[in-house]
């Protein structure tokens, strides 16, 4: 019972995100923006098959497709993969918000609190992070992950991220 047959339904979440970009020029700018943000995602995101599937309020929506290496219980995503997706979505949103105001800080996670609400079965999972505070030293993000129905989240996370100036690692 993989959700392969339901992919068009899942794809609608992305289409809906793209509906905001009615004019072609805007859409093109959106795709350039997606490509730009995609470069900011770390190796872990690529290894997990996490990609940007659309924009909402100019902030990326991430997607992750089910594969054997993401499985926990038979047929279900491992909870850790959902936490990983939520983390990537949260970081992507903060990076985007920083980028938009011309800031280039390094991100360092302070904490990450995940709530698992439902089992995530096969198919795809989407995630979107809302930056609820972007301060000088830290950022606060709320992230949600869902499958076919945006209003039925499978997992949620709250993250606090330290923003470190300069290229150094201290």
């Amino acid at each position: 019972m993989t959700d392969d047959g339901k992919q068009p339904v899942a794809g609608m979440a992305c289409d809906a995100a793209k509906e905001g970009h009615q004019r072609y020029a805007t859409l093109q700018a959106g795709e350039a923006r997606i490509a730009q943000i995609a470069k900011l995602l770390p190796p872990y995101a690529h290894a997990m098959g996490i990609a940007i599937c659309g924009l909402e309020n100019d902030t990326p929506i991430l997607e992750m497709e089910f594969a054997a290496h993401l499985q926990g219980w038979p047929g279900l995503f491992h909870g850790g993969t959902l936490a990983g997706l939520l983390e990537m979505a949260g970081l992507a949103s903060v990076l985007t918000a920083l980028h938009d105001v011309g800031r280039k800080e390094n991100l360092r996670p302070i904490n990450h609190s995940t709530n698992f609400l439902r089992e995530a079965r096969g198919g795809r999972v989407y995630a979107f992070g809302r930056v609820t505070r972007l301060g000088g030293r830290n950022a606060h993000v709320q992230v949600e992950a869902w499958q076919s129905d945006r209003h039925t989240p499978v997992a949620e996370a709250v993250m606090n991220v330290m923003l470190k100036r300069g290229a150094g690692s201290t």
């Binding site: 019972m1 872990y44 594969a67 219980w73 047929g75 279900l76 850790g80 970081l91 990450h112 096969g122």
Partner: protein
């Protein structure tokens, strides 16, 4: 990265962990738990992470994920992402709960909170020790420490809770029954044992 073929991810496939789940009744705890540990670490996401078993006690378990480039959460700093760390602690704490219960039981993670005490070192793997500090009939409460070899110099601390399911066939990934169906099944339980067939809905 090669994507494994889809036949390896067919739900409900009869690998050891599902077999242990279907058995339901607790058997010799340590043996079952060791089997379950082996099964868990050789399948799915945990296997992909390269998770290794280091040790376990009455209420704890220690696992390790060696460093790998594709687990980096920061390509410049070359430090491990939170995702693998959470997966590691989730698994270690899950096993710790089974050790405390004394048997393998289906359970799902309800929540996990990870606090970084310091940044992970560049190109360092991670060791996670999870401990189940309290059990109730429906919950297992866990705490854990992630470190890089010296537990007195931890990278992160986690707290969380698992929801326990007891009884054969219950738990994540099993065929769903509505409360009404479940009550009906329970009332008929003595007269007609439940067959293994499900409607395949949901």
């Amino acid at each position: 990265m090669t994507k494994p073929s889809s036949d390896t991810i067919e739900p409900g496939q009869n690998w050891a962990i599902r077999g242990a789940l279907d058995e339901g009744a607790p058997t010799q705890s340590s043996e079952v738990t060791q089997q379950v540990i082996d099964a868990m670490l050789s399948h799915g996401h945990v296997n992909w992470l390269g998770c290794r078993y280091l040790g376990a006690g009455d209420d704890w378990c220690e696992l390790e994920i060696p460093w790998r480039e594709d687990l980096a959460g920061d390509s410049r700093a070359q430090t491990i992402a939170s995702g693998p760390l959470i997966s590691l602690m989730d698994t270690a704490c899950s096993i710790a709960a089974w050790r405390k219960i004394g048997a393998f039981q289906a359970q799902v993670t309800l929540d996990l909170r990870l606090d970084y005490l310091r940044p992970p070192r560049a190109k360092a793997g991670i060791i996670g020790r999870g401990r189940c500090y309290h059990l109730t009939r429906s919950m297992a409460f866990v705490r854990g420490i992630a470190h890089e070899g010296d537990i007195d110099d931890p990278v992160a601390q986690i707290v969380g809770g698992f929801m326990r399911f007891s009884g054969a066939g219950a738990g994540p990934g099993s065929s769903r029954k509505t409360p009404k169906e479940r009550r009906a099944a329970e009332s008929q339980d003595s007269s007609a044992p439940a067959s293994g067939e499900s409607e395949g809905e949901q």
